[in-house]
Structure formats: structure tokens, C-alpha cells
Symmetry: C2
């Protein structure tokens, strides 16, 4: 069977940075994210006897299939099938440069592979499956705002995402992605978070402060209190970067332009334009604002050295977009 | 009596950021610094009946004398004199932009005022006096490398600096100051550290990690192990900035160029050029290297947008440079 699925990337508002179980991608803390309508991965999975090995084509280029094969093995085991697969995947945005391509990537792969293997999985089961490929992918199964629960102990099935607010319930929320570089990051998130957990003296304080952030963020989202969401997200992002920065050797994902835009956003707020930033493991700045302020923010961004801006709204759940019958 | 004293600014290698007693400037942790030969403040203090009020002239401009008067009051009380003073002070470098002008400023003032009031103070007593004006000034009484001890409880006399290594004992150590801006910082160190202590969730982790840094740094300095000094100083600086960054509201003293130079220095090291950075509450980058690499570093810095570079060696103790007899 051959299935094409599509999933949107998500941006964490309360960040995930550190695992308690490397193999299962069990995180050290819950995280909260928004799934974005504009950044997506479209993935086709075909299990067939005609494939002698797993094949992985990303953005029209054949890549080493190891990580994909590992993920397909989980699906094959669950479905009790023994077929190799061809996986074709396309991101409509740059890969591995801090735009959450692994979140949409493993969400789309999980959905397409499960369906192609004729597994009938619930959203929760899909979220668990996606999580094993890339932690943040657990959240891309859901549209809108969702929370990825860390779960208990080493219990694989206890850690999955849940929707907090559906995309149609907060139509005015915007995240503007400002792409500052398309270079792949030197240190992957996977490697970076491992280093941070092992070496940053700030990590304990990060973990100790996270429960308050989660509680306040959930409240802010359900109340659709934009100022509160923006403020908490910005401070939480800075806390994550402060743990990265104090890893040994230090991890600084920011470019000069990243810092320039951070200062600019603080100045805009002083002038009454309400915008907040969040930044992941990469140089890109994601700017949160409300629909009414989009034109003003876009106008202001024109004076910066930005490759591209992408205005995103809350996006939908991961979905099947094609069941190839022939 | 009219006395002119001169003191050098110092740059902390293990940072001071936070007080346990605001009035006495008693710090929450010990700090270690290097006094620099090129950045200095020259201050003349004259106690005289002819002055009806305290007068403070900084860089040829009359300023509000409040902070200076408060400091002179300590000296007047100790010396049992009741005279107003004229204080003339000049920095040979920009003031209040992250170049440690308050360290040399209050060290020079303390020495000149004490001598003008005919107090005969030891280095330790001068260090205590200078500390009450500005914490970091306690270290500028001493040349070379010194440690400012936090002392005990609220005991004023227990917190002062001590020399670890005299300037002539490590002649090859260099700090290149790269001045990126001459704008005064928006948030003073005094205000910034108060905010950080009160609001940063990372502050506790900073304090918990400091004793290891202090111990290793003292060892590295006494062994004149440049690589170790550079590495520990760089990581310690990043830790301080990570506490600033997580204050509420956040404190980010870095400019885009600051980040540009940080990345450059990490690249130089990969290429075999051994240089390390430290950054204080300001945008300026202070680059540590050894005498043999000065030309190479200076050449590389030419491609950056830097107002001025100042190559510093370990500097001398604060000293009297003129006893005005007429």
C-alpha cells in the first residue's frame, strides 16, 4: 500500500531541551507548541516486495535511510509485516536549520507509514510513534496548540501530545518566521540537548522553573491572552538558550542578525507594537503577533537582513492527503 | 590637602553579579580579576574650607556629586574631618559602557580621598573602602590578578580583595579590549544585578557553580596556565550572561557585533589561534591571548566593525601620582 501524508511543523512556546531516555525520546519536561499552517512535510511511504532495501528520498535527493529504517522497524513490528519501503519526503521549507523540519518530518512519516502498513492508530498512538522518531514530532500530529506530556519513568506509552486549543479557536494568532540563514546548523538538536543535559550547570534551574511556565502557558492559551502567551514564551526561550550557552563547549545558535531582531522587538514593544520572539536551536527568529499587527511588523522587518519571512497561522492536524490506489 | 591618585580598571575573569547587602556592596560570591595597564582613572581630591559643597567634575564636566559625596562621607567620618571637597576625575576611556570605569573610578577616588584626609590606610583597608563605592573597585587597588573575597555575613570589614599574582609575574598575558560602542548602557550594572538576583531562575545555579570556577581559576593563574584561564573565564562569562538573559525583563547587553566576534573567536581556536573572550555588562568584547599571538589577533580583528582596540597587559596597583604642595 502507498500512502501520502502531510504534517505541519510546530514551534515550541515552552521548549523541549533534554531527554531522560535517549532511545525512546522521553523528555525531561513537558513542552507546549503551536503547529503552523505554512511549514509542512509531505511524505509518501510505499511498503512493497519490489523494494530490496529501504530507500529514503528527501527533497528529490537520495539520503542515508538509517534513521528512517529504524522508525519503519517500529511500524513493521507493530503491523507484523516484513517489507522494505520507499519513502519520499519533501519539506516546503529549508531542512535542519532551526525550522522544526524534524517535527513535521517524523509526524508525516509516522502517519503515512502506519496507514501504509494498515495500522489503525489513534492520534495518541500516532503521537507516541512520531515521538520515537523525533521528540517534537509528537506535537505535530495535532493542529493548534498542544502539550507534549513527558509521561512517567521509562514507560514508552505514557509520553504523548494532547491538543490544548484547536486552530480554529484562535484565528488571530500569528507567528512570522524570519529566515536569517538556510545553512544547516553545526550542532543538531539531538546532539546539542545531550551536551546541555550533561554539562550545563544551569540545567537544574531550567527544569525547576518549567512547571510554573507550563501552568501559566496553558492558562494563557485557554484564555487566549496574547500578551501572556508572548511574554511567557519569550522568557522560556531565553531560559533554554541560557542552558545552551552554558554547555561545555558552549552552544550559541544565534547569529548577529538574531540579536539585532531581538533588540528591535523589545524596542517595538516599548513603542506600543506588541510582538514577542521565540528562537529554537538555530538562528531563525519566530515572531509572535496578532493579525491586526501583521502589516506593521512586516513593514518593520523590511529594514533587516532577512532571506524570507513566512506568516503562519495555527495549522491543522497531520493528515492523509493521498491514498494511491494504483 | 590635595592629592591625585591613579587606578587601573580591572576585568573580571570570574564575574561578580549580585549583592547580598546593597548598602555595603557585599557580594554573593568571590570574584577574580585582572587589573589592566591601559585603562585608568586619574582623580584629584582636595578637602578645603573654600569649598561650600562637594563638587564633582568628571571628564571636564560638572556632574551630580551625590554618589561621590556619599563615598567622601565615609572618609570624612573615619578621618574626623568636616570639610567639603572638590573631586576632579578623568577616565582615559569611555565611561559606563562596559569598560569597568567604576572599578578604576572608585579605586582612584578612595586612594586620593583617604590620602587627602590624611588617613594612612593599608591596601586591605583601601580595598574595603573602594568596595563601598563600587564592588569591582575593591579589586582595582591591586595590580595583576586578584580575588575579591565575599567575606562573612554582614561584616563590612570581612570583604576585600587580595592579590593572587603580581603583574610582573605574568608579562605575556594580554587582554585586547575591542570597543564596539561608546554609548552608555541602558541598564547600569548596579540596577542590572539587582534585577537578576530578584528575578532570574538561573541565579541559584550560577551561585552553586561558582566555587568550582574560583578554585580552578586560582590554580590556573598561579600555574600561569593560559589555556585553562581562558577556558574557565569564557565559560564563567557565559554563565553570568545566561543569568542576565533570564532576568525579567531580560537583560541582553550584547550587540550583533558582540555575537559576531564571539563566533569568530571560536573559529580562530579551531584554526589553532588561541584566544578567549570575556564580556561584562556591556557590548564590548575583551579578548584574552598571549603576547606571541597579539599581531595575529589584531590583524584578524581588522575585518570587524570595531571602533577601537586597546591592547592591555597586567597593570599596577593604584597609586598616588601627585601630592600637590601648593
Amino acid at each position: 500500500m502507498k500512502i501520502t501524508a502531510q504534517a505541519n511543523a510546530n514551534i515550541a512556546l515552552i521548549k523541549y531541551w533534554g531527554k531522560r531516555n535517549l532511545k525512546l525520546n522521553l523528555p525531561l519536561n513537558n513542552s507546549i507548541s503551536l503547529t503552523l499552517d505554512k511549514l509542512n512535510t509531505t511524505t509518501t511511504v510505499e511498503f512493497s516486495q519490489k523494494h530490496k532495501n529501504d530507500i529514503f528520498i528527501l527533497n528529490n535527493k537520495e539520503e542515508n535511510p538509517q534513521k528512517i529504517s529504524d522508525h519503519l522497524n517500529i511500524v513493521r513490528k507493530k503491523a507484523k509485516i516484513n517489507l522494505h519501503a520507499k519513502v519520499e519526503s519533501k519539506n516546503n521549507f529549508p531542512t535542519a536549520c532551526g525550522l522544526a523540519s524534524s517535527s513535521s518530518g517524523f509526524a508525516a512519516l509516522s502517519l503515512a507509514a502506519a496507514k501504509a502498513a494498515k495500522l489503525n492508530l489513534s492520534h495518541q498512538e500516532l503521537s507516541i510513534l512520531a515521538r520515537k522518531g523525533s521528540g517534537s514530532a509528537s506535537r505535530s500530529i495535532f493542529g493548534g496548540f498542544s502539550e507534549w506530556e513527558k509521561g512517567q519513568k521509562s514507560l514508552d506509552e505514557s509520553s504523548f501530545a494532547k491538543q490544548i486549543l484547536a486552530p480554529q479557536d484562535w484565528l488571530d494568532f500569528r507567528i512570522i518566521i524570519s529566515v536569517l540563514t538556510q545553512k544547516q546548523k553545526v550542532t543538531s538538536s539531538r546532539e546539542g540537548m545531550l551536551k546541555t543535559v550533561l554539562t550545563s550547570p544551569m540545567y537544574k534551574c531550567w527544569l525547576n522553573s518549567i512547571n510554573t511556565d507550563l501552568k501559566e502557558m496553558k492558562k494563557a492559551i485557554t484564555q487566549k491572552n496574547f500578551s501572556l502567551v508572548g511574554n511567557i514564551a519569550e522568557l522560556n526561550c531565553l531560559k533554554m538558550h541560557s542552558t545552551m550557552l552554558t554547555s561545555n563547549p558552549p552552544l550559541l545558535y544565534w547569529l548577529p542578525q538574531t540579536v539585532e531582531i531581538m533588540h528591535a522587538i523589545w524596542n517595538w514593544r516599548k513603542q506600543g507594537l506588541e510582538a514577542y520572539f521565540t528562537i529554537d536551536a538555530g538562528a531563525q527568529v519566530k515572531i509572535m503577533c496578532q493579525k491586526k499587527d501583521i502589516q506593521n511588523v512586516e513593514k518593520k522587518l523590511k529594514s533587516f537582513d532577512i532571506i524570507k519571512t513566512i506568516v503562519c497561522k495555527p495549522g491543522e492536524d497531520a493528515k492523509i492527503i493521498n491514498q494511491h490506489l494504483f
